[in-house]
């Protein structure tokens, strides 16, 4: 595909999503699309960090940090929600920086375990301290303030459609900024670090610095999604952000295909969110089915859905692993 036709395809898909609320009568469908997009963004962050060779279990933790920051900023300090979105993302990034200085340095398995430990600590803090709302969580989180649109009148966040458009804006922001990073020397350095850390060092790439940067960028995205989540659900409970949620995000990325930075996470989270909803599977049974799916995926579809589609279209021999 030429860049021109690729851009046209992207724009027409975007237009379809912009017009979609006009045809979807049931707000429940918009709600599902919002969930798909939010989780796809989390999976995109996971993939960004994964590409530098780090498997983080702290996706949900930073999602939670963004959500709790935003709730507390708006409720305790009276900061407008619109200011709180970038501020909460920045707080998540700052925490990722501080924590990353310690745990990214370790790398490999140590990083996996330490990111898990960090996730448990975060959930424990949320559920223990009254300041964070304790076990019951936080309620009555404000909606985003109305905005006066020219010609269209005020936009009030009382129905699903404004949230849908806000999420569309956010995911667009994530995709475009990630794409710009991937195609630059920054993305090439990340890829080099993931493919071979020692060769990357030998060509002048500071492996620790670039891994830390990926960890910060990914966690910042999670924080933004958390902030959205707080003002969309308007209630937070600590258990939402436990490490299990991270495993689900991993699954979205794996099912979609870990080599596909954008379409994979969207396809993966769409299937894993819409199918259980459509089949009306009880929440209690879901983890069992998800576990089975993970095993089947690892055996039969190691490249994920996008990886298999790509392999069908062009038969490129995979390089020999040494």
């Amino acid at each position: 595909m030429t860049p021109m036709s690729r851009a046209l395809l992207f724009l027409s898909v975007l237009l379809a999503f912009i017009l979609l609320p006009l045809f979807l009568e049931n707000p429940y469908y918009l709600h599902l699309l919002i969930l798909v997009a939010m989780n796809a963004a989390l999976a995109m962050s996971f993939i960004l960090i994964f590409r530098t060779g780090l498997i983080t279990i702290a996706i949900a933790a930073f999602w939670g940090i963004g959500a709790y920051s935003s709730a507390l900023l708006t409720m305790r300090l009276g900061i407008p929600v619109w200011v709180s979105f970038p501020l909460s993302a920045a707080i998540s990034a700052a925490v990722a920086w501080a924590v990353g200085m310690v745990i990214v340095k370790k790398g490999g398995f140590n990083f996996v375990i330490l990111s898990l430990v960090f996730s448990f600590i975060v959930v424990l803090l949320f559920s223990t301290f009254k300041f964070f709302g304790g076990h019951v969580g936080i309620f009555n989180i404000p909606r985003p303030e109305d905005i006066n649109l020219p010609f269209l009148g005020p936009l009030r966040f009382t129905s699903k459609a404004p949230y849908y458009y806000l999420m569309l804006l956010f995911i667009l922001l994530v995709i475009l900024s990630y794409r710009a990073m991937y195609s630059s020397w920054l993305g090439r350095a990340w890829r080099a670090v993931g493919l071979s850390p020692s060769l990357a060092e030998s060509i002048g790439i500071d492996v620790f610095k670039y891994r830390l940067l990926a960890f910060i960028v990914g966690s910042c995205t999670c924080g933004l999604m958390g902030s959205f989540f707080a003002h969309y659900y308007r209630a937070l409970a600590p258990a939402t952000f436990d490490p299990f949620k991270s495993l689900y995000v991993h699954l979205y990325a794996l099912l979609g295909g870990i080599d596909s930075a954008f379409l994979g996470p969207i396809v993966g989270s769409a299937i894993l969110i819409l199918v259980p909803e459509g089949l009306r599977i009880a929440k209690e049974v879901e983890p069992v089915l998800t576990g089975i799916l993970l095993v089947l995926l690892a055996i039969f579809l190691p490249g994920g859905i996008m990886g298999s589609i790509r392999a069908m279209f062009k038969r490129v021999p995979r390089p020999k692993r040494k």
């Binding site: 900024s177 710009a180 990073m181 630059s184 020397w185 920054l186 090439r188 350095a189 890829r191 080099a192 493919l195 071979s196 020692s198 060769l199 060092e201 030998s202 060509i203 002048g204 790439i205 500071d206 492996v207 490129v316 021999p317 390089p319 020999k320 692993r321 040494k322």
Partner: protein
């Protein structure tokens, strides 16, 4: 001639094992220096210590009169020392061109923000570096494999690709760790020719190698290590006849008169 690299009193031990012991070594500007010695003599350890992959236990390393002891690998490259690895360490999933292009990491002058906004100077710079990557591929003779995945290259060309990536960092000194391992005669000739041309372009070369004939042909000067100690140093002819070198490789001849 001025030394480009000086190693003074270098020691490196792993627990109780002394891999390098009180080593003094000078690399002269513009030469091809061979470092030889039996397995376990400390040759690769020496390379790893110089390039910052290992820290020395004690001692000093000077590059162009600048103390580089204990710098990190990515800082050492920045100063102009690049290296290749004993194993074919490559970005196996990337094409040959992308491998070399990735090697230009240090060459970018425009900020990441101008690049993210796709501003013209950043894109122009990127195109220029891509052209330079093509030039390197042509120089090293990989143009027919340009779009091949690095992992699928024949072994000999993988080694050449390793050297090509190292060249992309515009080094003044190159350390080649066993560049001829596992090569057939034709591949060896191709690599030797490449190393000579790299030297002609003004880069000083140090190589660790087991292929004695090639080392003798290629190098002006040879340093012999055994159990982490330098046991001989000099031009190939001298090294060939040096009794302690022969002893290190073949063992002591007990029947010979003392």
């Amino acid at each position: 001639m001025r030394p480009i690299l000086e190693v003074r009193d270098l020691n490196r031990h792993f627990g109780g094992i002394q891999a390098i012991r009180g080593l003094n070594l000078s690399v002269l500007q513009g030469e091809i220096l061979g470092v030889i010695g039996p397995n376990g003599a400390g040759k690769t350890t020496l390379f790893n210590v110089i390039t910052g992959f290992l820290r020395p236990s004690s001692g000093t390393i000077l590059f162009c009169d600048r103390d580089i002891t204990g710098l990190k690998p990515h800082e050492v490259v920045r100063l102009g020392i690049s290296r290749t690895f004993q194993l074919s360490i490559l970005f196996a999933e990337l094409s040959v061109l992308e491998n070399v292009f990735t090697g230009f990491h240090l060459a970018y002058k425009t900020s990441i923000w101008t690049r993210l906004l796709r501003a013209r100077p950043a894109l122009a710079e990127e195109n220029k570096l891509r052209d330079k990557a093509e030039e390197i591929i042509e120089f090293t003779g990989l143009q027919s494999f340009r779009d091949e995945l690095a992992g699928n290259l024949p072994h000999g060309f993988q080694r050449i690709l390793g050297v090509s990536i190292a060249l992309a960092t515009s080094p003044r000194l190159m350390l080649l760790d066993e560049p001829l391992t596992g090569m057939n005669a034709e591949e060896v000739d191709r690599m030797l020719d490449l190393i000579r041309r790299i030297r002609e372009s003004g880069v000083t070369v140090v190589l660790v190698e087991h292929n004695m004939k090639a080392v003798m042909d290629l190098c002006e000067r040879i340093v012999v290590l055994n159990y982490g100690v330098k046991i001989a140093e000099g031009p190939p002819d001298e090294i060939r006849d040096n009794p302690s070198v022969i002893e290190a490789y073949l063992g002591k001849d007990e029947s010979a008169p003392a």
